[in-house]
C-alpha cells in the first residue's frame, strides 16, 4: 500500500502546476473564454511540448503514461487552473479510442495527437441519448464498398477544431443494443458532415453534428464492425477518471480561494473567517474534499482493473464527486458573497467547471443508479 506519487508523476505534476501558475492566469483564461475558438492554440502547443498529452498515452502508444493515475495527476492540475483546452476530448477520448482500436495505419495519427498538431473529437451522444452509452441511432450502412453514415450527434465537444471526428454509428441491432455499434474515423472536411458550433457555459466549444449520407472508405472503421461498445465504456471510464480528477482540482482551488477570502475580507470590523458559522462550513468543505480525493484515487487505481471493479469505483467516484462538487461550488460562492457572482472572478469560472462536469458521461443520479445496479448483481 502506497499513496505517494511515483517520481515521474511527481515531476509531471510539478512542471504542469508551475506552467499553469505562471502562464494560465485568470486574465489569460478569461481572454480564452471570450475568444472565437474557445481555446488557445499557443497554450495547447506549449502544453503538448511539456509532454502533457504524452502523459495520457502509454509507451506503446507513443506516450509515457496513460494509466489511471497519470490521467488523475494531469486532470487534477488542469482542474486547479480551470483549463478549458480539449485534453479530454482530443487525447483521452479521441486519441484513446484510436489507440485502443486502430490499425497500425490509423495509429500513425497518434503522433500528431501527442505533439498537439492534430485535434480530435468524439461524436457519440445524440439528441435523445442523454447519458446512455448504448443509445445510438446514427446508422452506418455498406453501400458499394463504402460506408455511409446518417444521423445527428449532440453536444460534440471540440468538434469545430478537430481534424477528425470519431463517430459512433450502428451497423446492427436496435437503438439501445450494446452489440452492433461501430466507430469511424471521419475527416473534418468529409462531404455531408456539417456542424453548428456554439460556446459552452464552462468554456470551450461544442457543436451539433449532422451526418447526411456521409460516405467513407471501408478503412475508416476503427476495430471490428459492431464491437465498439466495450471500448467505448472503457474510454468513458477513463473520461470519468479525468472529470472526477478535474473536479477535485477545481474544488481545491475553490476552497483555497475561499480560505484566502475569509482571511482577508473584513465585515463588522474583523475578517469574516473569524465567524464560527463560516468556519464550521469551511471545515465541512475540507472534510468532503478529502473524501473526493480518496474517491478519485479509488477510481484511478481501478481503471486498468477488471471491468466490474472498474465500473463500481467509477460510479462511486463520479457520484461522490458530483455531490461534493455541488456542495463545494455552492458553498464557496455563498461564503464569498457577491464577488463570486462576477464573471471575472476566478471562482465563477471554477464553479462552472465543477458543475458542468456533472453533465458529461453521467450525472450524480446516473452514477448512483449504475452503482446500485452493480452492487446488487
Amino acid at each position: 500500500m502506497n499513496f505517494d506519487l511515483t517520481d515521474e508523476r511527481q515531476m509531471l505534476q510539478d512542471s504542469l502546476r508551475r506552467f499553469l501558475t505562471d502562464r494560465y492566469t485568470t486574465q489569460v483564461r478569461n481572454d480564452i473564454l471570450n475568444s472565437d475558438t474557445g481555446y488557445s492554440a499557443e497554450i495547447w502547443t506549449q502544453l503538448a511540448e511539456l509532454g502533457i498529452i504524452g502523459a495520457l498515452f502509454t509507451e506503446d502508444q507513443g506516450g509515457y503514461g496513460g494509466a489511471g493515475f497519470d490521467i488523475a495527476v494531469v486532470f487534477e492540475e488542469l482542474g486547479r487552473a480551470g483549463v478549458v483546452e480539449p485534453f479530454l476530448d482530443s487525447a483521452v477520448l479521441g486519441g484513446g479510442l484510436i489507440a485502443a482500436l486502430g490499425t497500425e495505419a490509423q495509429k500513425t495519427l497518434l503522433e500528431q495527437v501527442i505533439d498537439g498538431s492534430l485535434l480530435l473529437a468524439f461524436a457519440h451522444g445524440e439528441p435523445a441519448s442523454r447519458y446512455d452509452l448504448s443509445h445510438v441511432q446514427t446508422t452506418a450502412k455498406m453501400q458499394d464498398g463504402s460506408i455511409v453514415l446518417s444521423g445527428r450527434k449532440a453536444v460534440v465537444v471540440n468538434a469545430e477544431a478537430a481534424g477528425f471526428l470519431i463517430v459512433s454509428a450502428r451497423e446492427d441491432g436496435a437503438v439501445m443494443d450494446q452489440d452492433g455499434i461501430s466507430l469511424f474515423l471521419v475527416p473534418a472536411d468529409t462531404p455531408g458532415l456539417s456542424l453548428r458550433g456554439y460556446p459552452l457555459l464552462a468554456g470551450g466549444r461544442a457543436a451539433e453534428v449532422e451526418l447526411d449520407n456521409v460516405s467513407l472508405r471501408a478503412s475508416s472503421r476503427l476495430g471490428v464492425a459492431g464491437q465498439a461498445y466495450p471500448v467505448i465504456t472503457e474510454r468513458a471510464a477513463a473520461a470519468s477518471v479525468a472529470l472526477a480528477a478535474e473536479t477535485l482540482g477545481a474544488m481545491e482551488t475553490a476552497t483555497v480561494l475561499t480560505r484566502d477570502y475569509l482571511q482577508t475580507r473584513q465585515q463588522f470590523g474583523r475578517p469574516i473567517g473569524s465567524f464560527q458559522a463560516l468556519q464550521h462550513r469551511m471545515a465541512d468543505l475540507l472534510i468532503e474534499l478529502e473524501q473526493a480525493r480518496s474517491a478519485v484515487i479509488n477510481a484511478a487505481g481501478h481503471l486498468e482493473g477488471e471491468p466490474y471493479q472498474r465500473e463500481l469505483h467509477i460510479a462511486a467516484a463520479r457520484n461522490l464527486v458530483a455531490r461534493t462538487g455541488r456542495l463545494v461550488s455552492e458553498e464557496t460562492i455563498q461564503l464569498h458573497g457577491g464577488i463570486a457572482m462576477t464573471q471575472e472572478y476566478e471562482l465563477a469560472h471554477i464553479a462552472k467547471r465543477i458543475t458542468m462536469a456533472d453533465h458529461r458521461f453521467g450525472d450524480a443520479d446516473y452514477h448512483l443508479e449504475q452503482f446500485i445496479d452493480l452492487s446488487t448483481t
Binding site: 435523445a128 460556446p199 459552452l200 457555459l201 464552462a202 463588522f268 458573497g337 462576477t342 453533465h359
Partner: protein
Amino acid sequence: MDLSFSAKEQAFRAEVRGFLADKLPPELAQTVRDGRGLSKDTYERWHALLNEQGWLAPNWPKEFGGCEWNAVQRHIFEDECCRAHAPRIVPFGLSMLAPVLQKFGSKQQQDHYLPRILSSQDWWCQGYSEPGAGSDLASLKTKAVRDGDTYVVNGQKTWTTLGQYANWIFCLVRTDPTVKQQAGISFLLIDMDTPGVEVRPIILLDGTHEVNEVWFTDVRVPVENLVGEENKGWTYAKYLLTHERTNIAGVGFSQAGLAAVKRLARSQMHRGRPLIENPHFAARVARAEIDLMAMSTTNLRIISGAAKGQAPGVESSMLKVKGTQIRQEINDLARRAAGVYAMPFASEAVEGSNESPIGPEGTTHVAAQYFNNRKLSIFGGSNEIQRNIIAKVKLGGGA
C-alpha cells in the same frame, strides 16, 4: 382555520386572471417563460399596461394613486402574474423608494417624484451596497459634504441592479463621519445625469449584465434632494428594507419553475423512459414540491396575519432563507433535467436573439439561471445575515 380563499378573494383572483388573459402580450409572456432577459422597453411596456389599469402600485395608498391592496390581495395578484408569466414589476421606484417618500418625504418630493414613477418618466435604482460594505451595510463610506445649497458626493456604490437603465438613484451616504456608524448616514436622491456620476457594468457569472458599479466624483446634489432629516437615513433605509420584503418567499416563481422542470422531465428520456418516471429524479422533484407546498402555506399564514395588521417579524427572515433554498433547488433540478443540453452557453438567447435554440425546449437557459440565482441567497440580506437575525430574536445572543 380555513385554508380556502373567501368568495371576495376568489372574485378578485378572477378579475386579475381576466386582465392578464386580455392584456398581457403573449410574446412577452413567452420571453419570461423562456427565462430570457428583458429589455428596458419590455419592462416599460408592461408598466404602462398596468398603470393604465391602475394596478402598477399595489402597495401604495390610494391618495398617491395606488391600489392600497391588503397582503392577501397582493399575494393573489403576484401569484396570478407568476402563473401567467408576466414580467415582474421593477421594484426600485415603486416598492422601495415610494414607501419611503410617502412616509418621510416632503410634500414637494411626493408631488414631484411619485407621478413620475407611475408614468415611467423616471427609472430609479438603488445605491446601498459598497465594495467594503456588503453584509455590514452600515460601514458604508460614500460621503456627502454640505457646500452651501448642495451636497458634494464622492464614493462608490456597487451591485446596483439595472442601474444601466436608470436616470435616478437613491443613495445612502455618510454625512457625519464622526459618530457611530448608523448615526451619520443620510438618504439622498441623485439625478444620474449630474456630472461626475459614472455607471460601470458588472458582468455576472452567467454572462448577464444586471448589476453595476456607480461611481461618484464631486457630484453636486441640491439639498432639497435630501429625504427627511440629515443623519437619519438609517431609519429610512430600515423602513425600506421591510418594504422590500414583500413576496420574499417567491412562491410564484418556484411554482412556475417547478412546472417547467416537470415539463422538461416528461420530455427528456432516460433509459427509454421519461426522466420524470426515474425514481431518483422523481424523489428530488417530490421533495421540492413538498417543501414548496409547506412554504406556500407558511407564506399565506404570514400574509393572512399581515392583512390583519400583524407585523411580520422574524418570519420574513425565515421565508427569505427557505424561499431561496427552494428556488435554488428547483434551478438545480432544471439543470439536471436538461442533461447534456445544459452545457451550451446561450449568450445570444439571453440577450434576446431569435435564432433557434440548440437543445430541446426548456433547456437553453437552465444552467445560466442556476448560476444567476445563486444571487438569491447573497443579495438583499444574505441568508447568513437572516440566520443572525433569527438567532438574535430567538436566542438573544450576539453574532
